[in-house]
């Protein structure tokens, strides 16, 4: 019973997360340009530029390259008739088990970037918790949503 959950999330998630990382680095770049201007016009100390460059480099390595890769490798899920199992986390690996009878409702959501990559995020709600599987293939998510909601029959008096 204790193997990893079988399904991986879509490989396009990788590109999506890289784009997110790049956006983040872009914001830092804008800030650094502002700092650069300050150095140029008001004579702020120049080592600030070095720090800014360092941060951008670090961000490119971490949030564009390493983190998306590790995150994607770790993300696994499996939906059976009786339960939903999730595994995620880079440094702290979390494995979650949600029995099907506890599921109250399932939603899918899709932002503009996700739509561009034909991905969508599915969130599974119990009476007390919400569990998300990010960046699933659009159609897969849709099928999953349908199958979970047909499998989930909540025993009402338990809530």
């Amino acid at each position: 019973m204790w193997r990893e959950p079988a399904q991986r999330i879509s490989e396009r998630a990788l590109s999506l997360w890289r784009v997110y990382g790049a956006i983040q680095a872009g914001v830092t770049l804008l800030v650094s340009i502002a700092v650069g201007a300050a150095v140029f016009f008001w004579g702020w100390p120049e080592w600030l530029l070095a720090i800014a460059a360092g941060i951008i480099l670090l961000e490119l390595i971490l949030s564009v390259w390493l983190i998306p890769e590790l995150r994607w490798k770790r993300w696994r899920y499996e939906v059976t008739e009786q339960d939903i199992e999730l595994q995620h986390g880079i440094f702290i690996i979390q494995r979650t088990l949600v029995p099907m009878v506890r599921v109250q409702h399932v939603d899918t959501e899709q932002g503009p970037l996700l739509r561009k990559y034909r991905l969508s995020t599915i969130s599974i709600s119990t009476a007390a918790t919400v569990h998300k599987i990010p960046a699933l293939d659009e159609q897969e998510a849709e099928e999953l949503r349908r199958s979970i909601s047909s499998l989930a029959r909540v025993a009402e008096d338990d809530v």
Partner: protein, 491 residues
């Protein structure tokens, strides 16, 4: 009870007072604007505005009372109210989870109660589904009987059993001793709450005052007497502590628990009497708390984790089933109320290799802080070492107090962050379970478990850290639904 009824006229007064409380700030501001009222030079505009404002609040209270009616019709409680917009709210009886009664100082002289109606799906987080501000005690009792009769009729119809159930067979199952209430007041964290209130007040004061001038005077003052400051602080502390003790005693006086058919009924309070009803089938689990002061004295408190409608925030509203009780008495008292929770279990412990992890988790920040504190605030900074030692001690206690037990249908987890908490949970009430493991713990096969119960609108999380992988897996396998059709009958 079928004709529309009004609330008792006192509720107009209560509305007024509540309105005043809500609009206290603008009124105070107006009074301050009108600063010279006592020196004869009255500025008429602000005064008029104040008076007008008060009249508006008063009028609002009266009109709200006039427009509020409730009646019982076709198995529903029907409430109509609203100042300008007429609002109607019909609540079917079978959706009503519980009626909570409370009596404030306005209620007592007229033998009135405030009734809060709790349903399963209140959308508002902090309010009950509906509230009857003040009605006669007899009316409230009648309402309760009608509702429970209708509800029972319904369940009997559903079960197909022709059997008249005895309604309101109230049986007292627990009464808190005065001695316990006093001990609770003395050992409660309430003192801290009052103190932080004083602190907030003081911090706001410093913003208003001209700090620069005060600072130089303060230095002079400091030379005269650190003692004076210390003494003043001590007195404030003592007063705050006293107030918190008195408040707790007033709040929890006459605390008793009744078993009424399928409900637990908790009543308490001196000046303001409160009655809460918790249907037994809404109970999701139990939490037993022991804080650092109470644990050595052998005391603990028991809180219900309940899926009740409204989330009641604040310690005052928590569903304290047994606010303070000798730990060895819990089992016996609880057995009369909810018999299927097993408390006296054999504990499994985390392995010895997780001891240093517990200690590190609780004390690393303290030891880290010791270095700069000792260097920059020498020699007083060295005192930080004592604090760090204390945190190390708590870490060790956390290791000692962690544990778990698994039985057929029940999971029990105990852990300590600062206070020791024990969660008693039934398998069918657990909403989700997760194990976590950092990559460092992977090498030594340690895992932590976290289990979520439904509590109010949100969840209550029970956890136990750094257990052997075998153990957490055993718990997860126990939780994993494994037979094709879960036995619905035992739910």
């Amino acid at each position: 009870m079928y004709e529309p009824k009004r609330l008792h006229p006192v509720s107009a007064v209560i509305n007024f007072v509540k309105g005043l409380k809500d609009s206290a700030l603008p009124i105070i501001a107006l009074i301050f604007l009108n600063g010279n009222i006592f020196s004869g030079e009255v500025e008429w505009m602000p005064l008029l505005i104040t008076v007008g404002f008060l009249l508006l609040v008063l009028g609002g209270g009266v009109i709200r009372w006039l427009r509020f009616t409730y009646r019982v019709e076709q198995g529903e409680l029907r409430i109509e109210h609203g100042l300008i917009l007429r609002k109607k709210r019909y609540i079917p009886f079978h959706r009503i989870q519980s009626l909570d009664f409370s009596e404030g100082i306005f209620h007592r002289p007229f033998n009135l109660v405030k009734v809060s109606i709790e349903t399963a799906g209140s959308s508002d987080l902090q309010k009950a589904e509906a509230e009857l501000t003040a009605i006669k005690r007899e009316d409230a009792d009648e309402l309760e009987t009608i509702i429970s009769r209708e509800k029972n009729k319904r369940t009997i119809e559903e079960d197909g059993i022709e059997e008249d159930r005895v309604i309101s067979s109230r049986e007292k199952v627990y009464e808190m001793k005065m001695k316990d209430i006093v001990v609770m007041a003395i050992t409660s964290g309430g003192a801290g709450v009052v103190l932080s209130g004083v602190g907030v007040f003081a911090s706001q004061l410093t913003e208003v005052l001209p700090l620069g001038t005060i600072y130089s005077e303060f230095l002079a003052w400091l030379r005269i007497g650190v003692l004076v400051v210390a003494f003043a602080a001590f007195v404030i502390l003592l007063i705050a502590y006293g107030i918190s003790i008195l408040l707790t005693i007033f709040r929890y006086a006459n605390f008793s628990v009744f078993l009424d058919a399928d409900d637990l009924v908790i009543t308490r309070g001196w000046l303001e009497k409160k009655q809460m009803t918790i249907p037994l089938n809404r109970i999701q689990g139990l939490r037993i708390d022991e804080n650092l002061i109470r644990q050595p004295l052998g005391y603990a408190s028991v809180t219900l984790v309940s899926a009740g409608g409204a989330v009641q925030q604040g310690a005052e509203h928590q569903l304290r089933l047994l606010p303070l009780i000798k730990k060895k008495e819990i089992e016996q008292v609880l057995h009369q109320m909810i018999s299927d929770y097993e408390l006296d279990v054999e504990w499994n412990r985390p392995p010895s290799r997780s001891k240093r992890r517990y200690i590190l988790r609780h004390s690393w920040f303290a030891w880290l802080a010791v270095i700069p504190l000792s260097i920059f605030l020498f020699p007083y900074g060295l005192l930080a070492i004592l604090a760090a030692l204390a945190f190390t001690g708590i870490g060790f206690l956390a290791y000692k107090d962690a544990g778990w037990n698994l039985s057929d249908q029940q999971l029990t987890l105990k852990s300590r962050f600062i206070n020791k908490q024990t969660f008693v949970m039934k398998r069918k009430r657990i909403q989700s379970a997760a194990v976590t493991q950092t990559i460092l713990q992977k090498r030594v096969d340690l895992e932590s478990i976290r289990v979520t119960l439904k509590s109010g609108v949100g969840g209550a999380v029970a956890r136990c850290l750094y257990l052997d992988k075998q153990d957490t897996r055993q718990m997860m396998d126990w939780y994993r639904p494994n037979d094709k059709v879960e036995k619905r009958s035992d739910l």
